[in-house]
């Protein structure tokens, strides 16, 4: 199972078809890793997933969603981690509750300005 590597490789090759700037060498150069390391990531041969910084750089370079790439690597963005750890039970419950909710129901989840006693 190499979800992260397969996804990154698939996206990179899709772009490489029309743009030589998406070779392993050139993508690795832009995101600041060695070509052999990027190749290992794509084939799922690294012991641990790349750092958040590298994953974000890869996502941005390939034009894909940062949070999706982080999630495929078993990580969450630091700002989301802070949000969740501040109120872990509340947010865990909220996410589980919304798991099967349709998009429009999630988008209806709005916060109202509270009126009080004047």
């Amino acid at each position: 199972m190499n979800e992260l590597g397969d996804y990154l490789r698939g996206r990179r090759l899709a772009r490489y078809e029309t743009d030589p700037a998406y070779s392993v060498n050139r993508v690795a150069g832009r995101v600041g890793v060695t070509p052999s390391y990027l190749s290992q990531v794509e084939r799922g041969l690294t012991r641990s997933p790349p750092s958040e910084e590298t994953l974000v750089a890869l996502a941005d370079d390939l034009g894909v969603d940062r949070d999706l790439v982080l999630a495929l690597a078993g990580k969450i963005a630091s700002d989301l981690r802070q949000t969740i750890t501040r109120r872990p039970t509340l947010f865990a419950e909220l996410l589980r509750e919304l798991r099967d909710a349709p998009d429009h129901a999630v988008l209806r989840l709005v916060r109202e300005v509270r009126d009080g006693d004047w």
């Binding site: 709005v110 916060r111 109202e112 300005v113 509270r114 009126d115 009080g116 006693d117 004047w118």
Partner: protein, 337 residues
């Protein structure tokens, strides 16, 4: 219901009509001189940041939590205006009060709409409100001073500095009277970032600000041509907007307040535009004698022996842009500084 979106209060009434949405922003602006002259409309300098008071429950006064609502930061002697925009043109009646003193009638806050005297404004038609309505075609600019210092309309009229802040209540038109139309040319409040940072005027570290009477400005509040029964008083939303002294905004929120807008003199000297707004087919309300009788911040400062308002020299706006109701959209009330 009311939501906070991108520093705007968005009032919506989906139970009345999907088009019933009103966006309200609090615009930063320069303070016009309080010198006996009557000035045209100053520009918008972008919205004040708005936050839920509940998000800072541990650091705001207990009274703010009781009132609920939102808060924004203002420096002492800073001015604001309120912009209204109904994207679909759905009509609304809007009550505006400062320190629970109705800004149109000068009477103490009461729930509900009245037409004798008219205690609300109607949007579309009324794109903004810059201050207290003192006579036909003339307002006194909303200018922030610390609550308790005796400058606000509330303190002058009631003898107490109890509430401060701003209060809004919105009533949609009754659904059966609504006729969808192409949206009116509500001037879009575009703006540019302020480039001039000035040290703020000295302020005590008490958080509550209240709105006093600043300089005189040409602005009409229009008579409602509908009858009071046309407004859906069964569906209304209201919001308390607390004005936090900018000096303590950072302590409360951890965020920097916006920089101070340029002075009227700096702005005018740079040749930047002031504005006039005309709606020839509308009748202006007469304004409130109670409000007209109040003293301006400049007059009170002189009486109290406090330092006069900073940067209060007269200016001569020469670059005047006329904004007309019912012309193509895209008119802006902005000045790039």
């Amino acid at each position: 219901m009311i939501e906070l979106r991108n520093d705007a209060l968005v009032f919506s009434f989906p139970e009345v009509h999907p088009d019933a949405v009103l966006r309200v922003e609090f615009q930063r602006t320069l303070r016009i001189p309080s010198d006996g002259r009557t000035y045209p409309l100053p520009p918008g300098r972008g919205p004040f940041p708005l936050r839920h008071v509940d998000d800072f429950a541990e650091r705001v006064p207990a009274g703010w939590l009781r009132h609920g609502g939102v808060m924004l930061p203002m420096y002492q002697a800073e001015a604001l205006w309120i912009s209204f925009r109904s994207p679909t043109g759905y009509p609304f009646a809007v009550k505006v009060a400062a320190g629970k003193i109705d800004a149109v009638t000068g009477k103490e806050w009461s729930e509900g709409l009245s037409q004798r005297p008219q205690n609300y404004l109607v949007h579309p038609g009324q794109p903004w409100l810059d201050g207290y309505v003192v006579e036909a075609g003339k307002i006194r600019q909303f200018v922030a001073m610390p609550l308790g210092a005796g400058y606000s309309a509330e303190e002058q009229l009631t003898g107490k500095g109890e509430f401060g802040g701003l209060q809004l209540q919105v009533f949609p038109l009754r659904r059966e009277l609504y006729r969808p139309l192409p949206p009116p040319p509500a001037p879009d409040m575009m703006y540019a970032a302020a480039a001039t940072a000035r040290p703020p005027a000295a302020a005590r570290a008490a958080p509550d600000m209240a709105l006093g009477m600043g300089g005189s400005m040409q602005q009409e509040v229009y008579r409602d041509r509908r009858s009071p029964e046309d407004w859906d008083t069964a569906h209304t939303s209201r919001c308390f907007v607390h004005l936090a002294n900018s000096m303590v905004w950072r302590q409360i929120t951890g965020q920097d307040p916006p920089t101070v807008p340029p002075t009227a003199r700096e702005y005018t000297a740079a040749g930047l535009p002031w504005f006039d707004y005309y709606a020839h087919d509308q009748e202006a309300l007469a304004g409130s004698d109670a409000l007209k009788g109040l003293k301006t911040i400049a007059e009170l400062a002189k009486e109290k022996g406090h330092p006069a308002l900073p940067e209060n020299e007269p200016v001569d706006p020469t670059n005047l842009v006329k904004l007309h109701a019912k012309v193509a959209p895209g008119q802006v009330r902005e000045g790039v500084f």
